[in-house]
C-alpha cells in the first residue's frame, strides 16, 4: 500500500476549478518535487492535503496509508502524520511558540495513545531541534511567528516538522526568500528527517533547493494538471527552458 495516493482529484475554490484531475502516488521513503508556474495550483494541492476546508473537492480521492484523508479534519490529518510547512506561515500574537509546539505534540501523542510530555520532558527534545535549525531560543519566547523575518518563519516551520516527526511532510516553497546560508540550514533540517518510512512532497519554483534536497521524482503542475513527471534532471531542464514547452509534451513519465 502506498503512503499517499491521489486519484483524479478535482478541487474548486470560490466556485472556480483549480485542480483538474490530479493523480499522484507517493511511497514511503520517497521525495517528490512539484514545480510549476504561479497560480498553477501547487499550494491548493498542499492545502487540500492538510485539509483546509475552504477548498472543495468535487471529484476524486486521497488516501493516506489506505485511510480516507478527505474524511479527516485538519487536526485529524495532522495526528495521522500529515505536516504542511506553509508558504506563508501565520503570525499569531498571544500564543507562545514553545507552548504551542508542545500543545501540538501532545495532541498528536494523545491521538497515538502516548503520554503527554510536560515542559521538563519537552525541553531537551526542543533544544536539540533548535540546534539542528540553528535557531536562537530567544525567538521561542515570542508569540508564534510574531515579528519573525521571512527566513525565521520558514525555519520555524521546519523546526515544528522536526519536533512533530510527520509521516508525510509537504513543504510549500519553504526555500523562497531564503539566502544561501538559511537554505542550507533548512535543507539540512529536512534531510535529517529523510527516512524509509517517511515521505516528502516538496513544492518549489527553483532547482536550487533540489541541489540540497535531492528528489526521487519531479512533477510539473500546469493549470491544475500534472503535465509531466520525471527524475531529478527534469528540474534542471525546467530551470533552463521554463514551463512553456512542457504543455506541448504529452502527459506522462519521460525516461
Amino acid at each position: 500500500m502506498s503512503l499517499l495516493e491521489i486519484k483524479n482529484l478535482h478541487v474548486t475554490v470560490g466556485g472556480q476549478e483549480i485542480l483538474k484531475g490530479i493523480d499522484l502516488t507517493v511511497n514511503a521513503g520517497e521525495v517528490h518535487s512539484i514545480m510549476g508556474p504561479n497560480g498553477s495550483g501547487k499550494s491548493t494541492l498542499a492545502q487540500v492535503l492538510a485539509r483546509r476546508d475552504a477548498y472543495t473537492v468535487t471529484e476524486g480521492s486521497i488516501t493516506l496509508d489506505g485511510k480516507d484523508l478527505l474524511a479527516m479534519k485538519p487536526e485529524e490529518a495532522a495526528c495521522e502524520g500529515v505536516f504542511l510547512a506553509f508558504q506563508y506561515p501565520v503570525e499569531i500574537p498571544g500564543i507562545g511558540n514553545t507552548y504551542f509546539l508542545r500543545s501540538a505534540l501532545n495532541a498528536q501523542r494523545k491521538h497515538r495513545g502516548l503520554d503527554e510530555m510536560d515542559a521538563m520532558d519537552f525541553l531537551p527534545l526542543f533544544r536539540e531541534k533548535l540546534r539542528l535549525l540553528e535557531m536562537d531560543d530567544k525567538l521561542m519566547n515570542r508569540s508564534l511567528n510574531e515579528g519573525f523575518s521571512g527566513g525565521e518563519k520558514k525555519r520555524n516551520e521546519i523546526l515544528q516538522m522536526a519536533v512533530l516527526e510527520p509521516r508525510l511532510a509537504i513543504l510549500d516553497e519553504t526555500d523562497s526568500g531564503l539566502d544561501i546560508d538559511a537554505l542550507r540550514i533548512v535543507a539540512n533540517g529536512v534531510n535529517s528527517l529523510r527516512s524509509p518510512d517517511r515521505a516528502m512532497v516538496v513544492v518549489t519554483h527553483y532547482q536550487r533547493l533540489l541541489n540540497y534536497i535531492v528528489p526521487d521524482f519531479v512533477h510539473v503542475l500546469v493549470d491544475g494538471r500534472i503535465v509531466l513527471s520525471g527524475g531529478k534532471e527534469l528540474a534542471l531542464e525546467l530551470e533552463e527552458k521554463g514551463y512553456a514547452w512542457t504543455e506541448a509534451e504529452t502527459v506522462g513519465v519521460r525516461a
Partner: protein, 482 residues
Amino acid sequence: MATAVQTADRSGTSPHNELQSWLEAFTDAEREAPGRALPWLRHLRENAFARFCEAGFPTTRDEDWRFTNVSGIARTAFRAAGVAKIAKADAAPWIVEGAAARLVFVNGRFARNLSALKSLPQGVTVASLREQIEKHPETLEKHLARYADTRRDPFVALNTAFLSDGAYVHVARGVVVEAPIFLLYLSTQENAPTMTHPRNLIVAENESQVTVVEDYVSVGAPAHPFRDETADKGGAPIFSNAVTELVAGENTVAQHYLIEREHLKAYNVSTLRIEQGRSANVGSHSLLLGGGLVRNNVHPVLAGEGGECLINGLFLGTGRQHLDNYMHVEHAAPHCGSRQFYNGILDGHTHGVFHGRIVVHKAAQKTDAKQTNRNLLLSDDAQIDTKPQLEIYADDVKCTHGATIGQIEENALFYLQSRGISEAEARKLLLMAFAEECVERMHAGAAREHVEQLIREHLLFMESVPQIATGTVTERNWTEQG
C-alpha cells in the same frame, strides 16, 4: 416637579406612577440613611433626588445613551433590597485569597461576618461607608460626592440620592498597600425587583499606593448563573447602580478593578470617577462577564500635570447580554497621558458598545491620548457599536484612536489545527490570546490572577455553549473602522 414630569414624558412610559414609586423609595431610604442629622449630607441626597426627578432616565435619543435602552430599568418598580444574611460557607466560592482586606456587602449592606479587616498596614483605613458616616463624618465631607457629577448623569444622581453604604478606603500619605483590597458585592435571589446603590470612596493621599477590586456577584446561582436562561426565569430582576470616586493624590499609584459577573436578570450601572493629581499613575481595569444589561462608565479627570491613566477593559458577551462601555477621559492639565484599550468578544445575540470620549481642555497642552477598541464577533447576530468622540480645545496634543471589528481568523485557526490541535482547543487558544492583551496590562498580583482565572473559566463556558461551536468565517479578517 413640573419639569420632571415633562422630561419623563418623553420616554413614553407612565411618568406619574414612576415618579411616585421613586419618591416612595426615596422617602423610605431617607428614613434609614446614615448621617440624617448632617445637613451637608441631607442636602446632598435631596438635591441629587431633585436632580434625578428633573432629568428622569435617559432615552436613546440622548447622545450618551444612543446604543443603550434603559427603559427596562425605568419601567420596573425596584425596591431597596431587603436585609439578607449569608453564611460564611455560602459566600466561600466568591472569596479571593491574597487580599490585604476584604469588605463584603450583601444586597448593598455591609456584612461584617463575611469581611476581613485585620492585618492592614498602618495608615490604611478600610471601613463600610455607613459606619464611616456615623462615626467620622468629618473625614468624608471633603471628598464624598465632590467628583461624581449628579448633573451629568441621572444614574449618579440616583445613587447619590440613595447613598447609604459602600466602601471607604483611605490610604495615608506615603503608605504602600501591596496586596489588593477586595470589595465583594453579593446580591441574593428575591421574589420582587430589588435595587442597590453601592457608593464607594477611595482616597489615596500623596505618594501612596493602593489596589482596589470591586467584584459584583449574584449568589444562590451556579458559577455561571447566566448559563441557562430558563433557569433564571424564577428570580426577579435586580438593579445595581454603583458609583465609585477614586481620588489619587500627587504621585500616587492606584489600580482599580471592576468585575461584573451577576446573572442575566441583572441591570448593572457602574460609574468610576477618577480624580488624578500631579504625576499620579492610575489604572482602571474592567472585566464584564455577567449582567443582562451593563453600563460601565469610566471617567478619569487628569487634573494635575504629568498624570498617566490606563483605561483597560475586556467584555465577553453571550446570549442576549447588552454590554455598554462609556469612557470619558478628561485631560485638564498639561503633559498627561491616557491610554484606552478595550477588547470585546461577542457571541450569540449580544450587543456591545464602546463609546470612547476624550476631552482635552485648553490648558492641557502636550496631551498624549490614545484609544483602541478591538472586537471579535463570534456570531452573525452579535453586534458592536464603537464610537470615538474627540473634543480638543488645546493645540499641541497627540490623540489617536482606532477600532477593529473582526472574527476569529480562519488562517490562524487552520494553522493551529494543521499541527494537530483540535478546533475547539484552537478557538479557545485564540480567544484567550485576544483576552490576554488586556490581562497583560495589569500589574502582577492577586487581582490579576483572579481576573485571569475568571476569563479562562468564562471562555471555556462560552465555548461550551452550542450556538457558537462553529461559525461561518470569512477570508478577510479585520476591518479597519476608524
